[in-house]
């Protein structure tokens, strides 16, 4: 799926020996994803979601987050995966996108990990059918790989306004 050539940001090596980014990793379907810990506001357990008529397809509805009404996105719908019953592992990950909060319903949250920049591959040659604009890179944790999402582009702009 991707080309394993190392193509690391120049800044990584010559400034500080080993720069590390922190990511919150979560599961959607079989895949592990990560979002920068800086973007994550909180993790919430599943609560009742209010359905909104005529909402965008991937918007599940709205929830009350400490007094604000914020939209939640069903990541399974967003990734065109078959729906799954919410269970005790289901979590709403609250991320901040362009100064507003958005909830992402994910199957489970795994961990907060430190990934050294050298283990993040930021330029990936995918096959054509994958939209890479919202992917920050692929991180390597030991043997497993994590798709690092750029929530700003993933949830903001076009992805939020298109149907």
């Amino acid at each position: 799926m991707y080309d394993n050539k190392r193509n690391i940001k120049d800044t990584a090596d010559d400034t500080k020996g080993e720069e590390v980014n922190q990511y919150v990793t979560f599961l959607v379907g079989d895949e592990t994803y990560g979002v920068s810990v800086m973007k994550v506001q909180s993790l919430n357990e599943m609560i009742e979601i209010t359905h909104v008529p005529k909402a965008r397809a991937f918007i599940k509805g709205v929830i009350n987050l400490r007094g604000s009404v914020i939209p939640v996105i069903d990541m399974r719908r967003k990734f065109s995966l078959p729906p799954k019953e919410y269970d005790s592992f289901t979590v709403i990950l609250i991320v901040e996108v362009n100064e507003r909060l958005v909830g992402m319903i994910v199957d489970a949250v795994s961990d907060v990990v430190n990934i050294p920049l050298s283990d993040i591959q930021s330029q990936i040659n995918y096959s054509a059918r994958v939209d890479t604009s919202s992917i920050e890179g692929i991180g390597r944790i030991g043997e497993s790989l994590v798709v690092l999402l750029d929530v700003e582009t993933f949830l903001a702009g076009d992805s939020l306004t298109e149907g």
């Binding site: 359905h51 909104v52 909402a55 918007i59 009350n64 007094g67």
Partner: protein
């Protein structure tokens, strides 16, 4: 960083001043000898100049200096107010606005400025040029604040050294010198230092003087008088002009005691005051009485001082604090949280054992009362008078009317009617549109008006008032009214109605609010090309208001805007459909009924209707519109909420009524849904989110399906 802040403050100040200037100048054109307005305008120019100097806008500074000089001549009566002057001044303001607020300094701005300066100089040049240097210089450096008149007041406290005579200086000479500079209003000699006769040294000066004088000169000039004694003696010169012009604007005055006022006026001096206060404390007398008794001041003087004290008090009462409006929003949000929290406590009370529940509920009810009052207070902070918004149209009407060759007066009523800040911010544009329409299409030319027996000048009335928990703004013109025949022809030609269609007057009038409608045969640069009234309508509906038009051919038009008092909290009716809770704004609700099977019908082309007191009204199945499941599918089993939108009644089918409560509106990001049926959301007592139904939007949405 600091510089940025200063500029911002300056620009804010300018916006305010320019707005006031425009409105005042237009008023001045009508009442061209109103000294109050003239003085006010002069002060505005002066402040503008001073501030631009401080903020480093040298070009503006120099330019406004000219304006100030020009207006000074108006003030002194050398130049009479006429349209030319007002034109120059308004054009100049336009230039200043442009210079300050347009991002890209336009390349012509220099030419414009030169042009304006030339025009100003024509006025300045043709009149007698005898402006005095020192005064001009002073104004330029902004050395004194008050410019209510050229006269300044100074209070001079002179305490000379005892051995002053040894230096060959006689205080009397100094005072004589002073009197040559102006008029000495009061002179008090403090003789307290004079020792007993045995100890008196005739070669020593034991006296000190408190002098209040009126002069056209500045402080420097006064200091010059004391040139030789200034360093060694206690000479205190204070500009007290503002205290003497106290009825004008003196925002800096703090609360003052009667004694202090008298001292300031130079009627008594500090030492006397101290004695008096001591006496007052001993004998518990009123200070004023003691003063009069002691013959230190006449009763009249004391009375004057007392009335001055009152004025100062009043000023303090209306003193204001500028607060960042986001702080108010935060406060409002927090209050919203409290309201939500209370609602959830009420729910808890429902679940617990009766006796405790009773006590809890009682406490909650009193808490409710306090919160409601609290809310009203916060609301009142957010309330701003509509006056300034109205005022800004004076200039607009003047210019637009001149351009159209019409004579129009703008009459303002209810300027102190208060509206939510957000509403004020958003109401300006729609109002402008309506006024524009009235100028453009409504009011006829003078000759036309005379023929139909009306006064030559048209009048536009802007009127704001409160009624039944709403704010109304009326825009009334005494023009020719809507030509309904023309409206109809136009509507037919646009395919909005069928030629043979019988249509009521009311319906025809509302057609003007349809997108793309304009009857002006020739679109003027004023009222565009049919993108007017529909925008007005949408803007006002966004503020949860409505527009209504009444027109009488030949007599004029009234456009009435109805707005809610506040945007943040509404009374809502909670209803349940299936598992969903929805909120219907109580203002729209007329009644809740059950309908019998016989009174329910399906009408071809109109959908489902129910018979309510002899009228058939359409029925809306909210569950279908919102894609949710309802318990009841038969209207005769469900409850029907009758609501009203645009004078039309509609029945909404619901499963159950939950109750009525205060609803804190939370807006929904507009990317979430395209539905027009939802105006926002609110958080219920149990923490769930409920959507608020926008009745009007819902009706529109259904009609467009």
């Amino acid at each position: 960083m600091g510089e940025g802040g200063l500029t911002e403050v300056f620009l804010n100040e300018c916006t305010e001043i320019i707005g006031n200037l425009e409105s005042d100048l237009v008023t001045l054109e009508e009442k061209n000898d109103d000294q109050d307005i003239i003085n006010r305008i002069f002060r505005y120019f002066h402040t503008l100049k001073g501030s631009s100097g401080i903020a480093g806008f040298t070009v503006i500074y120099e330019f406004t200096h000219n304006l100030e000089s020009l207006f000074d001549k108006v003030r002194s009566g050398e130049i009479l107010v006429n349209r030319d002057i007002i034109d120059i001044l308004l054009d100049s303001i336009d230039y200043i606005k442009d210079e300050l607020f347009s991002d890209s300094g336009s390349p012509e701005s220099d030419t414009i400025r030169k042009d304006l300066t030339d025009r100003i100089n024509v006025f300045l040049g043709t009149t007698d040029k005898k402006e005095e240097e020192p005064e001009d210089f002073l104004k330029a450096v902004g050395a004194y604040k008050s410019v209510g008149s050229n006269e300044r007041y100074f209070k001079i406290a002179a305490v000379f050294k005892e051995d002053i005579f040894n230096n060959g200086i006689d205080p009397l000479m100094v005072i004589e010198d002073l009197s040559g500079l102006g008029k000495i209003i009061s002179l008090t000699v403090d003789k307290k230092r004079i020792p007993d006769f045995e100890k008196l040294d005739p070669e020593k000066c034991y006296m000190s003087w408190d002098i209040v004088m009126k002069t056209r000169f500045d402080e420097m000039k006064l200091r010059d008088v004391f040139l030789f004694v200034y360093d060694d003696n206690e000479i205190d010169i204070e500009n007290v002009t503002e205290k003497y012009n106290v009825s004008k604007e003196t925002p800096y005055i703090a609360e003052k005691k009667l004694g202090e006022i008298l001292v300031e006026k130079g009627i008594i001096n500090n030492n006397e005051l101290e004695d008096l206060v001591r006496m007052q404390n001993d004998k518990n007398f009123r200070l004023g009485d003691i003063i009069v008794q002691k013959g230190l001041a006449s009763p009249k003087q004391v009375d004057e001082a007392l009335s001055e004290q009152d004025k100062i008090k009043k000023k303090i009462e209306i003193s204001t604090v500028r607060v960042d409006s986001t702080k108010l929003d935060n406060l409002m949000n927090l209050l919203g949280e409290i309201v939500i929290g209370q609602a959830s406590l009420h729910r808890v009370a429902d679940d617990i054992e009766e006796e405790k529940a009773f006590r809890l509920k009682n406490s909650l009810y009193s808490l409710d009362r306090v919160t409601r009052e609290f809310q009203e207070q916060i609301m009142s902070i957010r309330m701003v008078p509509i006056g300034p918004t109205f005022e800004q149209f004076k200039r607009f009407v003047r210019d637009a009317a001149h351009n159209m060759g019409k004579e129009i007066k703008l009459h303002i009523e209810g300027a102190d009617t208060e509206l939510d800040k957000t509403v004020i911010e958003k109401i300006g544009d729609p109002l402008k549109h309506m006024i524009r329409n009235a100028i453009d299409h409504g009011i006829e030319r003078s000759d036309e008006r005379r023929k139909s027996g009306k006064p030559a000048h048209g009048t536009i009335n802007l009127k704001a008032y409160h009624q039944e928990g709403n704010v109304y703004i009326d825009v009334i013109d005494d023009g020719k009214g809507f030509d309904l025949e023309k409206v109809k022809r136009k509507a037919v030609s646009l395919g909005m109605i069928q030629p043979e269609e019988e249509i009521t007057r009311e319906k025809l009038v509302t057609i003007v609010f349809s997108p793309g409608f304009s009857t002006a045969e020739q679109a003027s640069d004023l009222s565009g090309r049919g993108v007017g009234m529909d925008v007005v309508k949408t803007n006002i509906e966004e503020l949860r208001g409505s527009v209504e038009v009444k027109t009488k051919e030949g007599e004029g038009t009234l456009i009435r805007i109805k707005l809610p008092l506040t945007l943040a909290i509404i009374e809502g009716m909670l209803v349940r459909i299936g598992r969903s809770v929805l909120i219907i704004p109580l203002l729209s609700v007329i009644e809740t009924i059950q309908v019998s099977r016989e009174n329910y019908k399906t009408v071809e082309g109109k959908g489902e209707v129910i018979l309510v007191r002899g009228d058939y009204i359409s029925l809306i199945r909210l569950n279908e519109l919102f894609g949710i499941e309802a318990n009841f599918t038969n209207p005769w089993e469900a409850l029907i909420v009758i609501v009203e939108s645009d004078g039309e009644r509609i029945g909404i089918m619901i499963d159950d009524l939950i109750g009525q409560q205060q609803i804190v509106i939370k807006s929904l990001d507009n990317f979430i849904t395209t539905s027009r049926s939802i105006s926002g959301a609110s958080i219920l007592g149990d923490g769930r989110v409920a959507l608020i139904i926008d009745i009007h939007g819902m009706v529109e949405e259904i009609k467009n399906r």
